[in-house]
Symmetry: C2
Subunit: 114 residues, 2 copies
Amino acid sequence: MLKTVVEMDKAAVVLKLLGDKTRLTMMKLLDNNDCCVCEFVEIFDMSQPSVSQHLRKLRDVGLVREQRKGQWIFYSVNKDNDYYGFIEQIIKQLPDQDYKLKELEEKGTRITCC
Amino acid sequence: MLKTVVEMDKAAVVLKLLGDKTRLTMMKLLDNNDCCVCEFVEIFDMSQPSVSQHLRKLRDVGLVREQRKGQWIFYSVNKDNDYYGFIEQIIKQLPDQDYKLKELEEKGTRITCC
DNA sequence: TTATTATATAACTATTTGCTTATATGTACA
DNA sequence: TGTACATATAAGCAAATAGTTATATAATAA
C-alpha cells in the first residue's frame, strides 16, 4: 500500500464525493468488482441518468474509469489515481456490499459479459 | 486503535461533513489541539458566525465537543464518538496543519487560556 | 451598573447538488 | 437497413449548503 501525499484541497474534494451514500456504495462495490451502469440502476433502484451522473463525477476526479465492452460500459476503480491509497483506507473500513451483486446474480440480472 | 463498526448511511454523513476544506482542516487541527472559535476565525479569515456554524455541524454529529473556559468556548475532538476510529484513519493521512496555530502564537493571538 | 469581548442563533441569499424528463449517441441484432 | 438496448448529456427544478448581516446571550472588566 503506497503512502499517498495528500493535499487538503483535493482531499476535501474527494471526501465530498464520497459523502453521498450512492457514490460511497458504488466505490465500495467497484473496489472488488467491475460493474456496468445498468447494474447500478437496479441495485440503487435509481434512474439511469442519475447513475450516469454519479459515475461521471467519480470519473471526472479520476477515482474510476470506464471501459466499453460491447453494448455495456464497465466501470472500475482507478488504482493508478494519486488518491487511491487515501480512499482505500476509507473504503476498507466500510461494510461489505457485495451481497447487492449476489442478489443480481440470483435474479439472473448480473452482467458477466463478454 | 478500536475497530469501528461502520454503517454506510452514517459513514456518508460523516464524509460529507469532512468534505469541506474548512471543516476538514478544523478536524485536523482539533485532533492535536483544543481551539476556540476566535482562533478559527483568524486562521480561516472567515466571519465568526460562519465558523460557529461549521463547528455546530461537527458537534451535531458528535465529532467534536465544546467546553466553556471563561469567556471562551474551546472545541476538541470527541474521541468517544463511535466514528472516531473511522475519521482517525482519514485525518492521519492529511498533512499537518499545526503551523497555522504556530502563526497565531508568533502573532500573540493564540488563546492558551486558563 | 455599563461597556467590551466571545459566541450562538436567526433570517436571508446565492450557489451547489441530486434528481427528473427529454433527447442524442453508440452497439447489437433481425 | 431499422429496431431495441445501453449509456451519456442537456435542461429544468426543488432541496441543501455555505456564506452574509443582524441580533441575542453570556462572561469579563471598568
